[in-house]
């Protein structure tokens, strides 16, 4: 175990080309999918938390169900839709990074929506009452609500990114873990472990943890600076 970690560190320091390729694919899939999920999920989550309309309860339940969707089910769904017998086969997206991103967005967006909805639903009544009492119109009330959501957006992004970077089920099914093309860190760790190549597996694991730590620290610092 100790020698494997030493070898892994040496591999990281040597800037191994395969390792860099896996790292690049991982960054592309995780960052793109988490940002897209944030752009879709935040407005939808705010609207769901702040507005009262017929069918809202049903939408909340559906979203919570989607939050718990197993990644392999999502992967299976996309595999069936885009495989040689699926309705979207002509798009030729199966085993591409693009489809991995789409599958990740579908998995992560409900998490963003759910977290934003919970946060906004808790503060909206009191905020709305005060703002309406002051005679503010809908537009100003909405802007004030968005202003209240700056910190939760940071936390929700962290959550989305963590889910994206650690996800393995869906990306392995729709990406196929093809070396030099769609292999990301999680799928590569599985592959190398199955082959008995623990050194590369541990190296990737270490990078995965370090990346997660880096993103968390960067966003926490930014959040602290904004709160001053």
């Amino acid at each position: 175990m100790g020698s494997s970690i030493q070898k892994a560190i040496a591999l990281i320091l040597s800037a191994d080309r395969e390792l860099l390729n896996i790292l690049g694919a991982t960054a592309r899939v995780s960052l793109t999918s988490s940002v897209i999920a944030l752009l879709i999920g935040v407005p939808f989550g705010i609207a769901l938390g702040a507005c009262r309309f017929r069918g809202r309860g049903a939408l909340v339940v559906i979203n919570r169900t989607l939050m718990g969707m197993p990644p392999v089910v999502c992967g299976l769904l996309f595999y069936m839709l885009f495989s040689g017998v699926g309705p979207f086969r002509h798009l030729k997206l199966l085993f591409t990074v693009k489809l991995m991103i789409i599958a990740q967005v579908v998995l992560i967006t409900p998490i963003v929506v759910g977290n934003m909805e919970t946060y906004v639903a808790a503060l909206a009544p009191s905020l709305r009452e005060t703002a309406r009492g002051l005679g503010f119109g809908r537009g100003k009330r909405f802007l004030l609500l968005v202003n209240e959501c700056v910190y939760p957006i940071f936390s929700v992004y962290l959550l989305a990114f963590a889910r994206a970077i650690a996800e393995v089920g869906a990306v392995s099914m729709v990406g196929g873990a093809i070396a030099w093309k769609t292999n990301v860190m999680t799928t590569a760790i599985m592959q190398y472990t199955n082959r008995g190549n623990f050194t590369l597996g541990i190296a990737l694991g270490l990078i995965l943890m370090a990346l997660s730590l880096l993103v968390n620290v960067a966003l926490s610092l930014l959040q602290r600076r904004l709160s001053r």
Partner: protein, 217 residues
């Protein structure tokens, strides 16, 4: 100011049954009563936060300002929270000085204590111009010194702007100090309304008398 008759029902339970009522224009009317008598519901319906039964609005075409029991401090400085409601810088300064908020102007409003938040919220609502201003226990979280300062500001606001004020309060002493008229609510119905000195010293209704006896009046 005329308030049309209305009722308010929660889950089949009648919580407020208001006949047509008149508020003295440009004066302060205090609403007193025990817990659950419908004081806050009255304030919320008149301010439009809640709708009366059959979606009636008892006040139509009146510019209403409303300060809830627990006012929200927006994520910005105390000064900016107050400035949100318009008004000029001189007036803001005057209100902040009177409520001893000047040292907290640059501080984040979320970090204020309960009493300070109430003072900030009062200064904020007094920056606006309304025909009817409804305040739901605005001084409940304040100390005595701040309460007296807030009462002075409220009386000045009423006199200077000609605004009618409806003040929901638990404090009979506050009603006595500040209000021109009093409405006594009991189980969602106004039992007695009249000049403060008359209602509080020689109440006409036995229910009002019994309520005031609890306060040793």
């Amino acid at each position: 100011m005329r308030i049309a008759a209305f009722t308010k029902t929660y889950k089949g339970r009648l919580v407020l049954n208001m006949p047509e009522t008149t508020l003295a224009d440009g004066k302060i009317t205090a609403v007193i009563g025990a817990n659950g008598s419908g004081k806050s519901t009255l304030a919320r319906v008149l301010s439009g936060i809640e709708t009366a039964d059959r979606k009636l609005h008892p006040l139509s075409g009146v510019a209403v300002g409303y300060m809830p029991q627990k006012s929200y401090a927006f994520r910005m400085s105390t000064e900016r929270n107050i400035a949100l409601n318009g008004g000029d810088a001189a007036r803001r300064e005057r209100l902040m000085n009177a409520l001893r908020l000047q040292a907290l102007g640059k501080q984040r409003a979320k970090k204020l204590s309960g009493g300070e938040t109430a003072k900030m919220a009062l200064a904020r609502i007094l920056m606006g111009r309304y025909e009817l201003l409804i305040l739901d226990e605005p001084t409940a979280a304040m100390d005595m010194e701040s309460t007296l300062a807030a009462e002075c500001l409220l009386a000045d606001y009423c006199r200077e702007s000609g605004c009618t004020v409806l003040l929901v309060t638990h404090s009979i002493q506050q009603a006595r100090r500040l209000a021109d008229e009093v409405i006594f609510l009991h189980k969602g119905e106004p039992v007695e309304q009249g000049e403060t000195s008359t209602v509080l010293s020689t109440p006409a209704q036995p229910l009002t008398r019994r309520f005031l006896e609890f306060y040793g009046l």
